[in-house]
């Protein structure tokens, strides 16, 4: 049964909840922000997470992974979302690991996956070239050289791009800017000659970068998958990413909602607890309904990665579109229902609000996924 968690997964959920509330509460993100931390996350935290097995949570045991599958990953991501824990979990353990699983050859897997699983090596996906998610809009080029490729182009909104050891770069070997044909995926050292990284400071106090590639030479061994055929696995990779970020967003929504409901039970106005006002009750009850629907969508989407990958495109777009809307609703209502205190930096609701707006832009906003869902349905 894919729509309920099994005992192992429920145990993982308890473990993860304790772990993040103890080791990475929202307060930790505030400190990273206020100290303008250079890495943007705590490497200690990441080491601890790796020891829990979460850096390799979707990797087979052969590569040192925990092999918990995507449902297990979703549980951990959701809990990390509840505290807005900053870590390379999404960029490296989801996107990086999935890219190698989907496209890497044996040598590449042997060489890199154990290091990813141990948390020593972090990866980042350098995909976007515009401010809206357009996965086929790739102008970055990879020209062939005697023993490899030379990459030129600019990437933006690269999550963890300023801290990751290696970059997964989507580049074009042929075709026009919007073609699905002619794309390739390359592994590039962040410290390679010609790579220049500009860290961006965003509303969510998390980590992203703009990255320029100027005559960056790489070896032919650093091509992932077949040359020019990256689209064949890139969509699956992006769908995994969409479902994973949606799982993290579920955590924002739940945490914001639960804090708000708690506040409704404590706050008095006009001589009554504000939670007794029917207009607020109905809005809260409506949010509960949306959460229940999203819960079902997330469980199905996560299990589909491992069990029914043919459903992935539809479920990934459903999950990302619904979670985009859910975090918008729950964070907006959280601020409004908290009233004046809701707009102060002292209250943590603001951190969720801002993170939600960034997450919405990751791998497709609602319009992108509604359009994609409609196309998949044939209209």
């Amino acid at each position: 049964m894919s729509l309920v968690l099994n005992e192992e997964q429920r145990f993982l959920q308890d473990t993860a909840r304790s772990f993040f509330s103890e080791n990475a509460p929202v307060e930790a993100l505030r400190k990273l922000r206020d100290s303008k931390d250079a890495t943007g996350y705590s490497t200690q935290l990441w080491q601890a997470m790796a020891q829990m097995g979460w850096a390799g949570i979707i990797l087979p045991e052969d590569y040192g992974g925990a092999d918990f599958g995507f449902t297990g990953l979703g549980v951990v991501l959701e809990e990390s979302g509840r505290t807005l824990a900053a870590s390379p979990l999404f960029a490296s353990a989801v996107l990086g690991a999935s890219a190698l699983l989907l496209a890497g050859n044996d040598a590449q897997k042997q060489a890199l996956l154990p290091a990813i699983a141990s948390g020593e090596l972090t990866l980042a996906l350098a995909l976007e070239e515009t401010h809206h998610h357009r996965p086929t809009h790739i102008a970055t080029t990879a020209g062939e050289t005697a023993n490899g490729y030379v990459i030129n182009g600019k990437k933006c909104f690269v999550l963890d791009g300023h801290s990751a050891d290696k970059l997964l770069v989507v580049a074009r070997v042929s075709g026009d800017t919007n073609d699905t044909e002619g794309l390739s995926l390359f592994l590039v050292d962040r410290s390679a000659d010609g790579v220049s990284v500009e860290r961006t400071f965003m509303a969510d106090s998390r980590n992203a970068a703009n990255i320029a590639f100027e005559d960056v030479h790489i070896d032919s061994a650093d091509l992932l998958g077949e040359n020019g055929k990256a689209w064949t696995f890139l969509e699956a990779l992006l769908d995994r990413g969409r479902i994973a970020i949606a799982a993290e967003m579920m955590g924002y929504a739940l945490e914001c909602f639960e804090r708000t409901v708690q506040y409704l039970k404590e706050r008095e106005q006009f001589g009554a607890l504000i939670g007794s006002f029917q207009a607020l009750q109905h809005r809260a009850a409506h949010m509960q309904s949306e959460i229940e629907l999203c819960r079902s969508v997330m469980l199905q989407a996560l299990s589909a990665v491992d069990e029914t990958p043919e459903q992935l495109p539809l479920l990934a777009s459903l999950a990302k579109a619904r979670l985009n809307d859910l975090v918008t609703l729950t964070t907006n209502e959280a601020v409004q229902m908290h009233g004046g205190i809701g707009v102060t930096d002292a209250l943590e609701i603001g951190f969720f609000l801002k993170r939600a707006r960034v997450a919405i832009q990751i791998l497709g906003d609602t319009g992108f996924h509604k359009d994609r869902y409609a196309r998949l349905c044939g209209y």
Binding site: K265, Q281, H286
Partner: protein, 398 residues
Amino acid sequence: MEDLEQFRQHVSQWLEENCPASQREPMQAQEQYWGGRNGSFASEDARLWFERMRDKGWIAPEWPAAYGGADLSPQQAKIITEEMKKINARKPIFGLGLWMLGPALLEYGTEAQKQKHLRAIVNGETRWCQGYSEPGSGSDLASLQCKAEDIGDHFLVTGSKIWTTKADECDWIFCLVRTDPDAKKQEGISFLLIDMDDPGVSTTPIELISGESEFCQTFFDAVRVPKENLVGKLNEGWSVAKALLVHERKLMSEIGSDSPRHVLVPNTAAREYLEFDDGKIVDAELRSRLVDYDMQMHAVGLTHFRTFEEKIAGIRSAAPLIMKYVGTEAEKAKSELLLAIMGSRGVGWEGDAFTQSEIDTTRLWAMSYAMTIAGGTSEIQLNVIAKNVLELPQGGES
């Protein structure tokens, strides 16, 4: 699991052999069999199909065999439903006795009541309607006035009930009646079964905005009801009604998928009524509404499955409590969307200028307004979620 697979094969094979070809076609409303003294089969095949299912115990597969069921598990029952859907097998019989009263009697009824009523329901001998709401009571069920006085071996019932579905064609009615006028609202109410042939019972149909008269008002003028017709304890009818409401809400949230009319679904209607260009609907507004609806139904459908899996796994969640609200609101949105897609062909009412399926769709739209009202309004559903799931403080009784 392997047993269930075997069971599925058995079901599939049995259905294949026993369901007549004519019973695998979409059904018109008038072809439905609702049982009771006024019930009739639309065809000999329909009778045959009903009798085979009845004899197999599959009219109510989860009920004990002693009362006409087949002693099956919920999983097995679900398999029967699924396999029937696969071959588009018609429901052999419809009715509130089967869907609502039956399960309540199994939980609260006396042995004599079970013996008397359950098999009669499965056999199609009695058709039931529900007598809860009263003129003026609306969502506030506990305010009801229809009273049953204790006159020794009988109750004397006086008052009236509204929204009694097709009461003019029913044999029996299950009612909430006030048995203690001095008790506070929800106390002092009892659950009573009343034979509609009894002297003093009469009905009047109510015309709806859809132009149909599915509902009646039913009047009780000093009707004598034997005490053995009391279900559950005296003055504790509220508990029985609550248990039964759960079945009703579940029913309401699923009702759309069982619609017997020739009604379009939005996705199909779009292909017939909207312009496409390069595989895409040209009208951006309607395309956006359609994908919103399809996504919502996708999520609602998955949540239906989740509540089922949770039940099997013995896990409690808030999901079942939201289904009536989201299910009926989605059905209403669907009807509104269909009309928008069909444009001026979506507002036909009668006559030859519109196809039957256009007229059916428009009329179902009009009926759809009842869905978020009947069986507990959406507002009541939200109150219940606020109270029981979120445990928000209650201010007064609202």
